[in-house]
């Protein structure tokens, strides 16, 4: 059938089984929104207040569900507003297809109204991007974009469609199933999905010597440690990872992105490593003699001093992205490949080990906190976990994010939605909204945010209110940009330059303005009651927790120090 480019785009999104897109209309995407209007029975659209948060919502949708998120914005400022969201998705390997309109090709390059070279601008922060110059290429470009976004190491892909391409007509041939996998997959080893059949056999043959070597290192180790990251989630290798830990009788530590891979309830799980890692995790890292790193990229926040990182250990690095090998840390052995495939192959080569003493030693470092009446973050997060242990929790960035990582016991993958790599303040509300929309059962999602971060995205309260998206916003209000204040306290002589937020707004009045229920709490029993009620009700609402301005994130390792030398306990 003959369709215009805009209609072909929407049909291609439906081909990919996209249920919900997030976006904001404008001059250069009018044809797209017109075709969307005609297909509202087949695809949902969530209108946000700002394009950035539409981008974060698509990202949160992808992180929570594993499906590819989609976001639409207009040319010029609409497109540039996406930049932070794209970079956030890129740093955390989140599959999102960003679609932007652009001015007609006849006007491109003339500095016309709302014109911006968004494909040029986003080259460094996308896995790939396209400027579609002909309607004949559009359908295949969209299919390729989806394929690239989710294959190999996932990431954002941007498709920029000039308005004349949206309006031009061509024959559209619907595709489904395997037909949707573009030809490029054969040529591009790094754009592969998990190998199957013939490809798997070929991979096995190639990886065999490395697998053997890895099995040998594992057999020889006395103090093995498994270090898991976001790649394990992406690959869906949770069971294999835990099985390997059981087989080797090894403890597990995690990156921020890997939290939930091994349930916090599992005795082997020592928690997060790095700058705000647990004592147990950081000390185990420095004492182990074999580090098995799976789906991690050895970020500087996890490593501390790279030269003093895991000083006694041989390192096996398993990652799908060959460029991560030997980038930040030199490894003894690397296996490039999909985490689940590699772990499965390894499991068949490793026999049961017993390292009871090492396990006990590693476990002995886990902290037991003293309890008092002080209203503090740890108790709030503890209460949340008691009331809703499996709930999806999104965060913004700052102290509240680290407290959440430390004190909420994550029990499943994709439970924590947080901007790890880019550290984007303002990520949370959009992401929480996207995560909630991705859940077909419509369960509520918690957003833990700070007063600083929340001021960057509170405009989206209108969106969750309008659509009734069940996001419970838990604001940690300490009246300051807490993480920056913490660094000013520790490293800049208590000079609190531009970090004190003594200027409102009154979040209760704000909630009221958006027609949402707001509750301000000063005690843990008040919080418990408010959160329990909110969770049971499953409606969007705000809970504001009044915290002390000098509350700190501990433990802490100063940047660039070995991760077992804590500057704050």
């Amino acid at each position: 059938m003959k369709l215009n480019g805009a209609a072909i785009l929407i049909e291609c999104l439906i081909e990919q089984k996209v249920g919900t897109v997030f976006g904001f209309p404008g001059g250069a995407v009018l044809p797209i929104y017109d075709e969307l209007y005609k297909r509202m029975d087949r695809i949902n659209h969530v209108l946000t207040a700002h394009e950035q948060h539409a981008g974060h919502a698509a990202d949160g949708y992808a992180r929570a569900s594993g499906k590819t998120g989609v976001c639409i914005a207009t040319s010029g400022p609409g497109a540039t507003n996406l930049v932070t969201a794209i970079a956030t998705a890129y740093m955390d390997s989140s599959p999102v297809v960003f679609v932007t309109g652009n001015v007609p090709q006849s006007l491109m390059g003339t500095d016309s109204f709302q014109e911006a070279d968004i494909s040029g601008m986003t080259m460094p922060i996308t896995k790939h991007n396209y400027l579609v110059t002909s309607v004949d290429k559009l359908a295949d470009t969209i299919r390729e974009a989806f394929y690239i976004a989710r294959s190999g190491r996932p990431g954002p892909v941007l498709v920029d469609i000039p308005k004349d391409v949206q309006l031009a007509e061509t024959e559209y041939i619907p595709l489904s199933g395997d037909e949707l996998v573009p030809r490029l997959s054969k040529k591009k080893p790094l754009a592969q999905l998990r190998p199957e059949g013939e490809a798997l056999e070929l991979y096995k043959t190639k990886a065999e010597p490395r697998l053997e070597k890895a099995a040998q290192l594992m057999a020889e180790a006395h103090r093995p440690l498994i270090y898991c990251g976001g790649g394990v989630t992406i690959s869906g290798a949770q069971q294999e990872l835990v099985k390997l830990a059981d087989r080797l009788d090894a403890p597990i530590v995690s990156t921020l992105m890997g939290l939930g891979t091994a349930s916090a309830a599992n005795d082997r799980m020592l928690g997060m490593i790095g700058m705000h890692g647990t004592h147990a995790a950081n000390i185990a890292m420095q004492r182990c003699d074999l580090l098995i790193a799976v789906g991690v990229r050895f970020s500087d926040r996890a490593l501390g001093d790279a030269s003093a990182f895991a000083p006694n250990a041989k390192v096996i690095h398993i990652d799908i992205d060959r460029a991560e090998i030997n980038k930040n840390v030199s490894t003894t052995l690397h296996i490039t490949g999909d985490a689940r495939t590699v772990l499965e192959l390894l499991l068949s080569r490793v026999s049961q080990k017993n390292h009871a003493q090492w396990m006990q030693q590693a476990r002995s470092m886990t902290e037991d906190y003293l309890s008092d009446d002080h209203f503090e973050p740890r108790k709030i997060l503890g209460a949340m976990a008691r009331i809703a242990p499996e709930m999806t929790v999104a965060t913004d960035v700052g102290q509240h994010q680290m407290w959440t990582a430390q004190h909420f016991p994550f029990v499943r993958m994709r439970q924590l939605i947080s901007s790890g790599g880019l550290g984007t303040m303002g990520f949370g509300l959009g992401a929480a909204m996207g995560a909630a929309k991705s859940d077909e059962e419509g369960r509520p999602v918690a957003l833990v945010t700070g007063d600083g971060s929340f001021r960057m995205n509170l405009t989206e309260l209108s969106t969750i209110a309008h659509y009734g998206i069940p996001v419970i916003v838990v604001i940690f209000n300490n009246g300051t940009l807490g993480m920056v204040r913490q660094w000013q306290t520790l490293f800049f002589g208590h000079r609190y330059s531009q970090t004190t937020l003594d200027r409102g707004p009154d979040f209760m009045k704000l909630a009221d303005a958006y027609g949402l229920k707001g509750t301000r709490v000063n005690r843990i029993d008040e919080f418990e009651a408010a959160f329990e009620a909110a969770y049971a009700k499953g409606e969007p609402c705000l809970i504001e927790c009044m915290l002390d301005i000098d509350e700190m994130v501990a433990p802490m390792v100063a940047p660039g120090s070995p991760i077992d030398s804590f500057c704050l306990n």
């Binding site: 460094p124 690239i148 040529k187 080893p189 980038k327």
Partner: protein, 175 residues
């Protein structure tokens, strides 16, 4: 990571890429972003009109070059990357140079043209345009010698290189 200058070597890297708009920008942007210094860059289409070949000369240590190769492979437009071993490859660049050449200098210049197997492309009363092809060292040394006569204008292409022998670099890859 700090790179000791002494460890730095010159590497010639061949890259087969999709012949599409923006590809050069993607590749050169990557070099800039990841902190590689490009000594020379040359690009042109191949016998397959859908494939272009880029030759890049960079400096770095072995680890850095490995990282560069892997980062290049992450670009969807990149089909194949090959770091060429100096002993096992031939490389050439081309130089066009306009030198000051009156009656007095012409004879001496012609001798240099002979020695370096250069070509004279244009002669006027006051100047000559010479062409020379060769490896980097040869080009550099001619430039040095021509300095005595006065170089008026100069342009050189980037290095292009091929491996010796029967092996060919194709986009048919699986490694």
């Amino acid at each position: 990571m700090y790179i000791n200058k002494d460890d730095q070597q010159r590497y010639t890297v061949g890259v087969l890429v999709d012949n599409e708009p923006g590809v050069l920008s993607r590749v050169s942007g990557l070099f800039f972003r990841r902190g590689f210094n490009i000594d020379s860059l040359a690009v042109g289409t191949t016998q397959d009109p859908e494939v272009s070949r880029i030759t890049i000369v960079v400096r770095g240590d072995e680890q850095k070059i490995e990282q560069l190769v892997q980062q290049l492979y992450k670009l969807i437009c990149v089909q194949k990357v090959q770091v060429m071993k100096p002993r096992n490859s031939v490389e050439r660049q081309l130089l066009l140079v306009k030198v000051k050449a009156g009656v007095a200098e012409r004879e001496g210049l012609m001798r240099l043209v002979d020695i370096f197997k250069a070509k004279v492309l244009d002669v006027t009363k006051n100047s000559m345009v010479l062409q020379i092809t060769g490896e980097n060292d040869k080009i550099e040394s001619l430039m040095h010698l021509l300095g005595d006569y006065g170089i008026l204008e100069l342009v050189r292409t980037g290095v292009v290189a091929l491996e010796r022998g029967d092996d060919v670099m194709t986009s048919d890859i699986f490694d």
